[in-house]
């Protein structure tokens, strides 16, 4: 395996970590306005309180790793998706500060304002992340130097929008399962019912998405023909998703959450195996595509960064796991809570 492939995998690992971790706190945001009681909303916020910030670091580090390992792809995607990424920043800023600000005052309008900011910021961010991934899958129009020339509205093509909606549904499902783990009593019972509904909604979008893939992204059919074992990953993914309601029904919320994490990982694996070795597929001029070779840094940089990753990642995993372990269990509201 060459270093380019190693870095394709490592950037993928970071972005998968992001989807799996920030995915649930974006999903909690999407559900936030569906509970009306102030105490319940505070429980939602404090369920993600100690961890959301660390979760977002996966995106920051994933972005940094993309910049370092594949600068051409980073530059093309970030400049090409300019307005979409500015809107994403707006969403991420609002949800971050809303968590911090919301419970600092008890006025109704104050809390309502930040609640809306938190929720819309979360939904909007999920949507835009999905739209970006959709465009990478379906391909965007690049010129010979690898600049995106399709304009803003072309990014909102039906396939990308559909993947955006699917991402909201996926994160909402993931978030509701996480919340079942962090709550108890009546609220938990209500969330358990929500889990089944969110799974239903996710599967609905996921099926439409797969049909749409056949219509809008015929090149993916070619890829499937060349890599038929992708279907096995797909089947495994469906099984893992089906396991979520089963575990939820049995009351094993931790197992349900792990299943949900597994589903996110498999979805990202599918995504990665489908686009490989492309970083940014150019449609309609595939010869302008950015791949893990023509978009890459030098082997020397890849090697230096690999050393950093080998030193850094085990340490990062160790204290990420420790923090989750320390803050395990049900949410208790105290004077330090949000």
């Amino acid at each position: 395996m060459d270093l380019n492939t190693v870095w394709f995998i490592l950037v993928g690992v970071l972005l998968t970590g992001y989807a799996m971790l920030d995915g649930f706190d974006l999903g909690v945001g999407a559900l936030h306005l569906f509970v009306k009681k102030d105490e319940d909303r505070r429980i939602f916020l404090n369920a993600i309180g100690p961890v959301w910030d660390g979760n977002e670091v996966w995106l920051v580090t994933g972005g940094g790793a993309l910049f370092a390992a594949f600068p051409m792809a980073y530059a093309t995607v970030f400049s090409g998706f300019y307005l979409a990424f500015m809107a994403l920043l707006c969403g991420l800023i609002f949800r971050a500060v809303a968590i911090e600000f919301r419970s600092k005052e008890s006025w109704g309008w104050w809390r309502q304002m930040w609640d809306i900011g938190f929720s819309l910021g979360s939904i909007g961010s999920s949507f835009l992340i999905g739209v970006a991934m959709g465009n990478i899958l379906v391909g965007i129009e690049l010129d010979a130097r690898g600049n995106y020339i399709g304009g803003f509205w072309a990014l909102l093509n039906p396939y990308a929008v559909l993947l955006g909606l699917t991402t909201i549904a996926l994160f909402t499902m993931h978030g509701s399962i996480y919340l079942v783990m962090k709550t108890e009593g009546e609220l938990q019972a209500r969330l358990r019912r929500w889990v089944n509904r969110t799974i239903g909604i996710f599967l609905f979008f996921y099926i439409i998405l797969n049909v749409a893939t056949l219509v809008y992204a015929p090149h993916i059919l070619e890829i499937l023909r060349a890599r038929p074992w992708l279907l096995a990953v797909f089947a495994l993914n469906v099984l893992v998703v089906m396991n979520i309601p089963r575990q939820n029904h049995k009351g094993n919320e931790f197992a349900a959450f792990l299943s949900s994490c597994g589903a996110m990982i498999l979805l990202m694996v599918l995504f990665g195996l489908t686009v490989y070795p492309h970083m940014v597929l150019s449609m309609p001029n595939p010869e302008n595509s950015l791949t893990i070779y023509n978009a890459a840094s030098t082997a020397k940089t890849h090697f230096i960064m690999l050393i950093m990753a080998i030193i850094g990642i085990p340490v990062v995993l160790a204290y990420t796991v420790s923090v989750y372990y320390i803050f395990r269990g049900k949410v208790r509201l105290t004077e330090h809570s949000y």
Partner: protein, 483 residues
């Protein structure tokens, strides 16, 4: 307005706003470490309450720092795509390292610092505080290294259309989009000629920001006669920290100026308004640059700049006349920002050491003395000093590098995203202006509220789990028997 100026305004605005919070988190981080260490050593609830209170202020600044920091990482790609392609092989790895080594450390342990008071033991909590502080400093290390490489590139060669070019090759306007800088020597890149001196200057500037925030709020309480014990103790800790940091900043500043003289003579010439290459060059205390006559009007010390640069009035200082006019930085702006920074730096030394002097004379907390009261009002305002000095210092560094985005290699105008239109940047700039205005208003409001509410009162400690209380009682016993 064209896309270049809009992108520059947007980057400057978003990084300036972010940099209101960064120095506070780094400086307060050190203050928190000191306070918790004192608490662990003495077991006194006084220090516990102090650590608790300043942690709340810390949490507020940290949240805005995180939210506004992610914007910057995006902006390299969104607004400066050509730059990102040119430097990605070098600059990108510093950013990735910042994520792996700094941000994860910082954010992971932040959870324990903010929410772990009754989840973990006091020692583990102290450890978490140290790690958050260390993480914030690591972050400064990587980002200042990356920025210093833009000032004094080292450890690289240029590749043009995939071919290695000889050292000293500077791509022209036609070649630049097909060129990139490629790493030769990682350690030469890390320890590029300006990175260490600039890093020390940046870090100490952040310490000053944290120290003077604590000093300012404590002085306010003492003037109002509230939370007196808390304010006195906070003031003592922060005053020592500020006094040390302010002197240290003079040393790191001198070292940085020395480095600029060697590495970026055009920047130094703009900082001091030196147009003609000359011996016996004067140094301005303050002044105005007359761009028509190409001279500085104001208070100047003859020969001083030559002495500082080379130890003698005979030292020749390189002037702007050595460089073609299109390579000049904006002289007036660089000159003024630099001199504002210097003036504030000197004032901060005076303020901090006057406090030490009062302390030595036993007058520091004698609020019936009108001089002390007047001094306290200066202390209340002193929180602005490091903030303005940090900002103007960065203006000097970054505007002084112009017209280059990578000094001597790539011009700022060549680094833009080719596909981003001016109206898109205008739209995002308006968006950031609104969001940041809102955030700043809310931040000031909440900070004022925290200051008005104040810490919990001195005698009783904030709620601590029984195991912590027991441990602290033992500590107090040890401290007593040792004393």
């Amino acid at each position: 307005m064209d896309v270049e100026i809009l992108s520059r305004i947007q980057f400057a605005f978003t990084v300036m706003f972010h940099y209101l919070y960064v120095p506070l988190t780094m400086g307060l981080g050190v203050v928190l470490v000191i306070m918790e260490a004192m608490w662990l050593k003495t077991g006194s609830p006084k220090y516990h309450n102090m650590a608790r209170y300043w942690t709340r202020v810390f949490g507020l600044t940290f949240a805005i720092g995180v939210a506004t920091g992610i914007v910057l990482e995006f902006e390299f790609g969104t607004n400066w795509a050509a730059y990102s392609r040119f430097v990605g092989d070098i600059f990108g790895s510093a950013l990735a390292a910042e994520g792996i080594f700094a941000f994860f450390l910082e954010s992971g342990f932040l959870a324990i610092l903010l929410f772990g008071w009754n989840k973990v033991g006091p020692k583990l909590h102290f450890f978490a505080t140290c790690m958050v502080c260390l993480g914030a400093h690591f972050s400064a290390v990587w980002i200042v290294i990356a920025n210093s490489w833009m000032q004094t590139p080292a450890g690289y060669h240029i590749e043009y259309k995939g071919e290695i070019m000889p050292p000293g090759f500077v791509p022209n306007a036609d070649q630049i989009l097909h060129s990139r800088a490629v790493i030769d020597d990682f350690w030469a890149m890390i320890f590029n000629p300006s990175s260490m001196e600039r890093l020390s200057h940046v870090i100490v500037g952040c310490w000053q920001a944290g120290a003077f925030l604590v000093i300012s709020i404590s002085a306010f309480y003492l003037l109002r006669g509230r939370h007196i014990e808390f304010a006195k103790t906070s003031m003592k800790v922060a005053l020592i920290f500020a006094a040390v940091a302010s002197l240290l900043q003079l040393a790191t500043g001198a070292k940085s100026a020395d480095g600029v003289t060697r590495n970026q003579p055009a920047k130094l010439a703009a900082m001091e308004g030196v147009f003609k290459t000359q011996a016996n060059a004067p140094m301005a205390i303050f002044g105005w640059v007359d761009m028509e006559k190409e001279e500085v009007v104001g208070l100047q010390i003859p020969g001083m700049l030559s002495i500082l640069v080379g130890g003698s009035t005979n030292t020749v200082v390189t002037g702007l006349d050595t460089f073609p006019k299109e390579d000049w930085p904006p002289v007036q702006a660089v000159f003024q920002f630099y001199h504002i920074m210097i003036a504030i730096g000197m004032a901060l030394i005076a303020i901090a050491w006057f406090g030490i002097f009062l302390w030595w004379r036993g007058q520091l907390f004698n609020t019936s003395n009108p001089i002390v009261r007047a001094y306290y009002w200066i202390l209340v305002l002193s929180v602005l000093g490091p903030q303005i000095a940090n900002q103007t210092g960065w203006f000097t560094a970054e505007m002084g590098r112009q017209p280059w985005i990578v000094y001597g290699l790539m011009r700022t105008s060549q680094g833009l995203s080719e596909v981003v239109a001016a109206n898109h940047v205008l739209a995002s700039l308006i968006m950031f202006t609104f969001i940041y205005a809102l955030l700043f208003a809310v931040f000031l409001y909440l900070l004022t509220r925290k200051i008005q509410r104040g810490p919990d009162d001195e005698e009783e400690s904030e709620a601590m789990p029984a195991s912590w209380v027991a441990l602290m009682e033992r500590r107090k016993g040890q401290a007593r028997s040792a004393g």
